[in-house]
Symmetry: C2
Subunit: 194 residues, 2 copies
């Protein structure tokens, strides 16, 4: 938004930059996945939701005849992945991350407790994976958790702290874009599991 | 907590009353289920978590060199059930409610969008149910979602707005108490599905 004096509103500009930086369609990966999940649910294809961001509520104010207001709260580290649900009788569980990096996906994007959670889900028979977007190329990949784990573990044995872009291209699956399913990951699940 | 002048600290007292009212062991149903799920995960029996309560964040303050503080937020109505995860390859999804009522479970405890969610989960092959505690008797029941739905729907066709305690006793399954699995609902799932 441009103002009469030719300057941009600072906060609007930074928000816009942030949002545009992630995808050339101006949608973040999270927004794309949320829209996809809404479509999957409305078409009754799958029931998959993003979990709410956990908030540590410290203070709540209760005004008379109004909704309770949280006046002090803190964002907590999630102990699981962000998305889960059910598709064709199977439990589905995944984490989604985008990077502006052009050559590699830094492993620091994923927390260790999320890895432990994904290992448990995989052990118990769930369909578990990562969705990784390289926002510069606007390419989104499906990487099975089982493929991801060895790269994660290698970093503690002298291995790299990131996965090269080419490795993700070669070992992952490019997720197709559909108008209604902007990150159509069920197409990959169909291919891999059914 | 009693103070020297014989008066109770008001806010402590009301918290205690609330907590004690739900169960004669002083634990709420939610606390019991959370402890149960921690045990199930640590014993690697199942991976089931409570979803965080959704918060609409309106204002966040970013102090220098400190964690972001939410200074205005509101509790949102959850659009799904509170608990889900995986057990023996199956997707598990449930809602838990306790009532102080001695004779019936009021259907107003469950929201319509939660029923819709549960119907979708059941249609897609998930194990879906309610955990209902009558706190006065300290009895906790497992009611399959498929058993619950007709009672829910009946209220819109001139039926009751509640399910009698006896009906829940007869059509539900009493959930056993174990020291580590305080609400040992997997025992009922084993019985019904495996």
């Amino acid at each position: 938004m441009r103002y009469p004096n030719g300057q941009k509103n600072k906060s609007m500009a930074s928000k816009k930059t942030r949002s545009m930086g992630f995808s050339n369609r101006g949608m973040t990966l999270e927004e794309d996945i949320n829209a996809t999940n809404v479509f999957y649910r409305s078409a009754d294809k799958a029931v998959i939701h993003k979990k709410p961001t956990p908030v540590q509520v410290v203070n709540v104010h209760y005004p008379k005849r109004s909704a309770a207001v949280i006046t002090e709260g803190y964002f907590k580290q999630p102990s699981t992945t962000d998305y889960n649900g059910i598709y064709r009788d199977r439990h589905v569980d995944f984490e989604a991350k985008e990077t502006k990096n052009k050559t590699r996906f830094p492993l620091a994007n994923i927390h260790e407790h999320q890895i432990k959670h994904m290992q448990s889900i995989a052990n118990h028979g769930g369909i578990c994976f990562l969705i990784i977007r390289f926002s510069v190329y606007n390419e989104t990949y499906y990487m099975p958790a089982e493929t991801f784990f060895p790269y994660w573990e290698a970093q503690f044995n002298g291995g790299k702290k990131s996965i090269p872009y080419e490795t993700i291209q070669n070992t992952g699956y490019r997720i197709p874009f559909h108008y209604q399913a902007r990150v159509h990951y069920l197409a990959i699940i169909d291919q891999l599991y059914f």
